[in-house]
Amino acid sequence: MEFISQHPVLVASIIKIAVLLFIVMTALAYLTWLERKVIAHIQSRWGPYYVGAHGLLQPLADGLKFLFKEDVTPPVADKLVYTLAPFLALSLALSAIALIPFGPPNILIPGLGQQVFAITDINIGLLLVFAITSIGVYGVALAGWSSNSKYPLMGGLRSSAQMISYEVALTMSVVGVVLLAGTLRFNEIIAGPHGQSGYWLHFVPRWNIFPQIVGFLCYITSAFAETNRVPFDLPEAETELVAGFHTEYSSFKFAMFFMAEYANMITVACLATILFFGGWLSPFPDSWTWQKFLPGAGLVLMGIYCAYDTVSEMRGIARIQLAVVSLLCLAAGLICLVPSVATVILGTFWFTTKVLVILFVYIWIRGTLPRFRYDQLMSFGWKLLLPVSLANLVATAAWIAYGWVRHG
């Protein structure tokens, strides 16, 4: 108690971290569910259906399965590095999320002057996220090396080459945005003096996606490659390499790689939202005050739909489960309709919506595109993506230097 009163900022930070960790972990779990569902519907299947209503308990079942499986360590593996690799991958993937602002900085914890929706707000936020993601390569590379086996080694080699190649294009593609914003602090990139608030022609939001469309395309392509996702998932191409760098991993260590991959997806989606889609800014003008009821209304609608589905489709225990979900949605929606709450969560609502749209595109592309060949991947990265993002950078710099942008 004494400690809490003496270090209120520290305690508040720890609570924020714990809450964020809980939310991110849940989001990770349900991202796998969402992915399986979306892919299944793209392929005219139903996806997970039996564990819980609409497979809603499937992530829990998967997690339990991973926990209780036997944890096999190959006898020839380098024990220390073999154990270190998944921890490294997951902890780095999660720590990058700590720098993301999920809502406006003007919402403060009463009496502390600390932001509610960001764990830290530092002046080199963007650079630090890149620093953390750039060491993320080690998780994959070390896993591949320490397994002391053929396919993991090949997968680790491929993925480290791929990740350092595309990191160059990834970094170059966002420099245009940094030039426009003139800062590396996330909240200023979003709503600083040269940020993304305001409108062109009174209705097009001033998001960086419009002047930086080339940069965005380069960013999202290299982000796919950075996170080892289809169509760039060569490190784990199952037709060639069994499972790539995590072939020898089992049980919870495998689950950690899995979670790290999804955490990386969330990080790059958050970054794309902040850099190109105006972060927690609303697409509508502030004068449209009714928009603060959107999150509540959405949740209430979802609750009503779930209730309808419960009555019309579900049988047995699934009916009870879905009824619980619909009650939760209705309760959350009603809470969000309270005007004071609605104002606070509006920024976070828009941020989450944008991130979810980008994640959906991620999954959509996985359901659509075939895998690249390795030499195509490398020449695509170095011969197309890097020159294009450099040209974008030069063009943006010239644009700013000749004063064709509002702040000159």
Binding site: I122, I135, L184
Partner: protein, 167 residues
């Protein structure tokens, strides 16, 4: 015992232990991991010294690119544990004491150096802003900056020539 001093102590211990592991490890990959530890500890020290931009560059370039290249080469060559050849006796009996003396001499000299003592416990200074650093880099040090870009170009060419398959 302020928080900054504790951080300095922790990072210093991490850096020195990493350097010692680098020497003692027999597997090259363990040495590489130890070196990464040193680099990240140093990055935290740069933040303590009020140079967050340098810290980020240190992690991105050193830990995130150069050391990945090292790990990559170790994996590519599948470099196993180091062969222990018979050391030259001179290295063993003259080199080690000389090295230790070098360390202590340099440490002692730096301890007493006026630059180090003059600052003492200085008042907290604002962190060097990225903007100020870039102004310095692109105004006063523009020529060296361009020269290093040529150096990088030459390095790329050199690496390409070396890696090229013989016709």
């Amino acid at each position: 015992m302020s928080l900054a001093f504790l951080m300095f102590l922790a990072c210093g211990v991490l850096a020195i232990s990493g350097a010692i592991v680098l020497i003692l490890a027999r597997e090259p990959i363990h040495s590489a991991l130890a070196l990464i530890q040193v680099m990240i500890a140093l990055a935290v020290l740069y933040v303590l010294l009020g140079a967050p931009f340098i810290a980020a560059v240190q992690v991105i370039v050193y830990a995130g690119a150069i050391m990945v290249l090292f790990v990559f080469v170790i994996m590519l060559l599948n470099a196993g544990s180091e062969e222990r050849t018979d050391f030259s006796q001179i290295a063993k009996y003259v080199g080690v004491p000389l090295g230790v003396i070098l360390i202590f001499w340099a440490a002692h000299w730096l301890w007493r150096s006026p630059a180090g003592r003059a600052i003492g416990t200085a008042t907290a200074m604002p962190a060097a802003s990225t903007r100020a650093l870039s102004v310095e880099l692109f105004r006063q040090y523009l020529f060296p900056f361009e020269a290093t870009s040529i150096l990088i170009l030459i390095a790329i060419l050199g690496a390409l020539v070396l890696a090229r398959k013989e016709p």
